[in-house]
Amino acid sequence: MNWIAWKMLTGDRAKYLGIVFGVAFGSLLIAHQTSIFVSLMRRTGSQILDVVDAEIWVMDQHTQSIDELWPLQDSDVLNVRGTPGVEWAVRFYKGMVTAKRSDGLYRQAILLGLDDSTLTGAPRTILRGSLADLRQPDAVIIDEAGYEYLFPGEPVELGRTLEMNDHRAVIVGICEASPPFQTFPILYTRYSQATHFAPPQRNIMPFVLAKPELGVDAQEACRRIKARTGLLALTTQQFFWKTIDYYLSSTGIPINFGITVALGFIVGTAIAGQTFYLFTIENLKQFGNLKAMGVTNSRLVGMILLQASIVGVLGFGIGIGGAAAFFEATRDVTHLAGFMMPWQIVALTGAAVTLIVALSSLLSMRKVLVLEPAAVFR
């Protein structure tokens, strides 16, 4: 009977492809838009995750995200260091600067100032130059994408200079960094150097990075820091999710993407559901015929489920394949770096397609189950 179900399904090629297209379209839209949304959200906290050598971020108690900063007092780093259970604590600068090329072209950039002695928060992968070169006067290391933004189409060349806040900066290295929410270059420098590059302010230190002592839980250390200093102390993951929560609750991004994903689901369900339903209605006579010839309701349900599963699997494969092809094709596009489709999205899309297919088959199944076999004589 499975073979008959397969032949019935593929007999009308136009309808068969129409149903597959509906499911594929829904899958593509759901997988693609959800992946972009997730990737975009991940970008908002990418600078947090890039710091792997510290486990605790200390900041003003009203800070909502890594992009919304209020400087702490320099003495706060000492207070954090003095908190029982904290192994070490260092200063960390993060701010926006304007980096200008010698020919006048400029870009907004993210400036990260690393503790002078430990370089905590330094990039993990240096592509050109050396991290040690950061100790040279006026030295900055720029991320690969940022170099392309500042020097589009030009060969990578160390020693090029930038101007920030009337100070000269020399590019001594190219590194890998997770792409930020906006397509800004990321510049790494020493904290002391950052105080020159950053716009003048009495206090400039937005964060203290810390590590708990061995055997002390990071959350417990955070609690102690908060109790001692009155500052907000969060683990890396907590701060990452706080930043994402901020973007989710304070921007229209989730609504926009949510609508697109919902539309993908609705349109996919509508196209696949309606076409599959019409397909079953048109074959109602055949189902009635089979029923009259001795096919039980459960076998008919099996046939419909098989047909639905075939279009579901094919549509899902094509849709996911299309989404994967997009991310593969744009992998080397600088401003789309970091956009990817995690396996969870594939699973989510699979679940959505299963739901689409289940809804479509339920509609169709009802018609077949209530069909009186005597209808074959009408």
Partner: protein, 255 residues
């Protein structure tokens, strides 16, 4: 293959015996009685024609006989088995094994070839697909379609499609063949061929053939003509039919 044993306690000639069949549709004030206590015998080795105007209850009667519809009251025995005592899966299996159907619009599956269509009842019965198709091809050959076994229904003429439908109805060797207007969509020549086939099926295989028809061109092929009107049997004509070997009735000439 399913193994459904039927006991043959009645006369071997009697395939179907309907007694006091009543069928109502609707409830309360909208209730309509479509069959008013039908008594009917259908014999093996004969063609029984069920004729009458539209709405007289022919389709309801054959639907009940085939087990596609339940009677409101009355009994039906098919080859000695009380059909109304069979329920659910038993009935479906009984129908699948003992009754073949031929429809006015052939009801072939458009995406299956002639051989595949004819193999459907065997596949339903659980025969492996290759074996079912092999047997269906043999069946089609008997009906002069050996050259068309790979043709899709859309590539066959109406007469050829109806022959495929008859091959399909007979491939699992049912003892009762029920045909609903088998010649209505056919020209005179094709109708003649189909009726000759059905006569052969009835006479040579000792099979009961019950045909619902409006087509008075086929009346000459019936051993018995049951005239229905308003849910009742008006009269039954008994006829003498010549054997297939001799010159039989002609639909073409009648036309």
């Amino acid at each position: 293959m399913r193994n459904f044993q039927i006991t043959d306690e009645t006369s071997p000639q009697l395939a179907v015996a309907c007694r006091g069949l009543i069928r109502d549709f609707g409830d309360g004030e909208t209730q309509t009685r479509v069959l008013h206590g039908i008594d009917l015998d259908v014999r093996a080795g004969e063609i029984t024609l069920l004729v009458g105007p539209s709405g007289c209850g022919k389709t309801t009667l054959i639907s009940i006989i085939c087990g596609l519809l339940e009677p409101t009251a009355g009994d039906i025995e098919i080859f000695g088995v009380n059909r109304t005592s069979l329920t659910g899966r038993q009935l479906v299996e009984f129908r699948g094994r003992n009754i073949g159907f031929v429809f006015q619009q052939y009801n072939l599956i458009p995406s299956l070839t002639a051989a595949e269509n004819a193999a459907v009842p065997l596949i339903i019965a659980g025969l492996p697909r290759r074996e079912a198709i092999r047997r269906a091809e043999q069946s089609l050959a008997k009906f002069g379609l050996s050259q068309r076994i790979h043709a899709l229904p859309s590539q066959l003429s109406g007469g050829q499609q109806q022959r495929v439908a008859i091959a399909r109805a007979l491939v699992h060797e049912p003892r009762l063949l029920v045909c609903d207007e088998p010649t209505a969509a056919l020209d005179a020549h094709s109708g003649q061929t189909v009726m000759e086939l059905l006569r052969e099926v009835a006479l040579e295989s000792n099979r009961a053939v019950l045909i619902v028809t409006h087509d008075n061109r086929v009346f000459d092929f019936g051993h018995r003509i049951v005239h229905m009107a308003d849910g009742q049997i008006e009269k039954i004509e008994e006829r003498q039919i010549l054997s297939p070997a001799s010159t039989g009735p002609s639909l073409v000439a009648a036309h």
